[in-house]
């Protein structure tokens, strides 16, 4: 059984939602980033979503853009990220790890080579933020060839024909965009997703996980109430890293524990 299925089964038996923590790899530097990943697990994250820093992250808001800038300023490369993840995997054999990146990072290495490198680093899934289902075919093929789960994005405005393909082709989980716009930590998040979730379920899509704007425990509870199998929080964690120099790991550990607590019902 793959790590996502095992996680959802384990959490389902306990009536818990999954808490996913996102950080940008190499932010603020490689050594600290490694400690932060450990702290996310210690805090109780059920799954990790990690970004390879990219110079032009159009799907990201200012907080995660700034993380990319910090990592790139330290000279962090995709190869560094894969090495970081390889070491992480040797310490944490069971937690699902998803990679989030942009198409140019993938094709610069070569699609097949990129997915193989991800597999070798112990990565479970890859989500390419600027590859919609419309362009996904060669990415899906390369993903499968390396036994990596392709994670696809569903938005409230995604048409049914696309959701049907997404349900058939996606694996691991379905990344549901909680609202329009780029990533960011909002004050208010509303989940009017009953129709989307109903359609995904009818088509047999992988479990829906909500991202974008999840920054407080009440957001977590609201997302799970709306029918999500889990949530991913990114900008809120990345902001803690930026705001707590020297104490990044402690800051994110406590935050993750609070967010994880809200997944237990």
């Amino acid at each position: 059984m793959n790590r996502y299925d095992a996680m959802f089964r384990r959490l389902g038996a306990r009536n818990e939602g999954a808490f996913g923590a996102f950080v940008t790899l190499g932010d603020p530097d490689l050594a600290t980033s490694s400690d932060i990943l450990d702290a996310l697990v210690e805090g109780g994250a059920d799954m990790l979503e990690v970004g390879i820093p990219f110079s032009d992250p159009v799907a990201d808001g200012p907080v995660i853009q700034a993380a990319s800038v910090r990592a790139l300023a330290k000279g962090v490369t995709p190869a560094d990220c894969f090495a970081l993840l390889t070491h992480f995997r040797s310490r944490h054999p069971d937690i699902p790890v998803g990679l989030l990146t942009y198409a140019n990072i993938v094709v610069a290495r070569g699609r097949e080579a990129f997915y193989q490198a991800a597999r070798s680093a112990g990565v479970d899934s890859v989500l390419v933020a600027d590859v919609p289902v419309f362009e996904a075919a060669p990415y899906l093929a390369a993903s499968r060839a390396s036994a990596i789960a392709p994670v696809l994005i569903a938005a409230p405005n995604t048409p049914e024909s696309t959701l049907r393909r997404l349900a058939a082709e996606g694996e691991g989980y379905t990344y549901c965009v909680a609202r329009a716009g780029v990533t960011g930590a909002d004050e208010e998040v509303r989940f009017g997703h009953s129709q989307l979730l109903g359609t995904l379920k009818a088509f047999g899509a992988p479990p829906p996980v909500f991202g974008f704007g999840i920054s407080r425990p009440d957001h977590v509870a609201a997302a799970l109430d709306a029918g999500a199998a889990g949530v991913i929080s990114g900008s809120a964690i990345v902001r803690l890293i930026a705001d707590n120099p020297g104490e990044e790991a402690d800051a994110v550990r406590g935050f993750v524990a609070d967010m994880k607590a809200a997944t237990r019902r």
Binding site: D56, N104, D130, V131, P132, V133, T158
Partner: protein, 392 residues
């Protein structure tokens, strides 16, 4: 999508899933409008009576020589000061047709921002322009012109603070605002349907030029020459000549301070295929795929990607792409002013610079058509500074 949005291996639509419905809506509106006589008539009237089409084809009286005649397609005379006006009027009409109440745009030199601002004013659309902070500084007059026409100008401080970064911010805005907002992209780059749509709305340039040169010379030109940043004035000039295989299509990129270094915008000459701003195309990047910061004296050519159809024309061999340095462009800019009494944009001076080289090298009767894509008002302050050493 009704089409695959490809030019050979290039193009496509690489955007977050949430933007796909907006692109599909735009594609449909564009294809419908192309078939709609009322739309074509309204656009035709605007181009004629508001923008000032057709623009003249001017034969240089003093540049060129007894072998080579240089003609200038005078997009600099268009209302707004550049070819950009052609397609913003069309996209403005499309925005209205789709029921959008707000338009956003990126701008480099500010010409597309000015064109978008005039469209916003004309059609009563709320207008926001994203412009790299570095470009805001070097194109102050255009910033004021945009504001005068009611547009809000947002300086973008991320990355190299130029055109690339302005596109990023416009895309981010659009992912949150697509329900009431049209992204009025300024060139033949970006995701489908923009490269196709903007080319079609700029096709008028080459269509007029082709008829005009036949009238003047009784034959087709040996080459049509245009500068290439994103590549819309070049695609507009090339589109009606693509089938004329004897006519060379020459795109001139910004060689900046020299293409051997890192300070240039010569994407087709020095980049390699990648994916940026929604399209598979040539991209200036490092080995890992991080996008390079670019340099050109002209803000409009300071861009690390290029329209995907140019990538296809290059790889298929139909198009030829060359570079002109800052220095060469400035020399051509000054020479055109002195010889012909025409002050062109720095961007267009890159194209002219190459035409002058071709004229010099010509050994037989040669006819060259240069797309003089914009006028130089916006560049006056910078030209004064850069050329003051020369005048002394």
């Amino acid at each position: 999508m009704l089409m695959d949005g490809r030019f050979g291996a290039f193009g496509g639509a690489y955007v977050p899933e949430i933007l796909m419905p907006a692109l599909e809506m735009l594609e449909k509106a564009f294809l419908d409008a192309q078939q709609d006589e009322a739309f074509r008539k309204e656009l035709g009237d605007l181009l004629l009576k508001y923008a000032g089409r057709p623009t003249p084809l001017t034969r240089c009286r003093n540049l060129g020589n007894d072998r080579a005649r240089i003609y200038l397609k005078r997009e600099d005379l268009l209302h707004g000061g550049a070819h950009k006006t052609n397609q913003v009027l069309a996209q403005g009409l499309l925005a209205k047709r789709m029921g959008k109440t707000r338009i956003i745009a990126e701008t480099g030199a500010g010409q597309h921002g000015v064109a978008t601002a005039l469209t916003g004013a004309l059609f009563g659309l709320e207008t926001r322009i994203y412009m790299g902070a570095h470009d805001v500084e070097r194109q102050k007059l255009n910033v004021f012109r945009m504001q005068l026409m009611g547009a809000e100008v947002i300086p973008v401080t991320s990355g190299g603070q130029t055109l690339k970064d302005a596109v990023n911010e416009a895309l981010r805005d659009w992912t949150a605002s697509f329900e009431d907002t049209h992204y009025l992209l300024g060139t033949v780059a970006g995701p489908h349907p923009f490269p196709l749509m903007v080319r079609e709305f700029q096709r008028i340039i080459g269509k007029e030029a082709r008829a005009q040169i036949l009238e003047e010379e009784g034959r087709l030109p040996d080459a049509v020459i245009a500068c290439v940043g994103g590549g819309s004035n070049a695609m507009g000039m090339f589109a009606d000549f693509v089938e004329d295989e004897a006519v060379r299509l020459i795109g001139v990129e910004a060689a900046g301070r020299g293409i051997e270094g890192d300070e240039h915008g010569a994407t087709l000459l020095r980049g390699r295929p990648g994916i940026l701003h929604g399209a598979e195309t040539y991209v200036l990047q490092d080995v890992d795929g991080q996008i390079a910061d670019t340099w050109s004296v002209s803000a409009g050519l300071d861009y690390p990607a290029v329209g995907p159809e140019h990538a296809h024309l290059k790889d298929s061999g139909r198009g030829e792409y060359v570079g002109a340095t800052d220095r060469e462009a400035l020399d051509a800019f000054a020479l055109l002013a002195r010889s012909e009494g025409i002050v062109c944009a720095f961007e267009s001076a890159h194209a002219l610079s190459h035409a002058l080289k071709m004229a010099e090298a010509a050994t037989e009767d040669t006819v060259l058509v240069v797309n003089l894509s914009g006028r130089g008002d916006k560049d006056m302050e910078q030209a004064q500074r850069l050329l003051s050493g020369d005048a002394a």
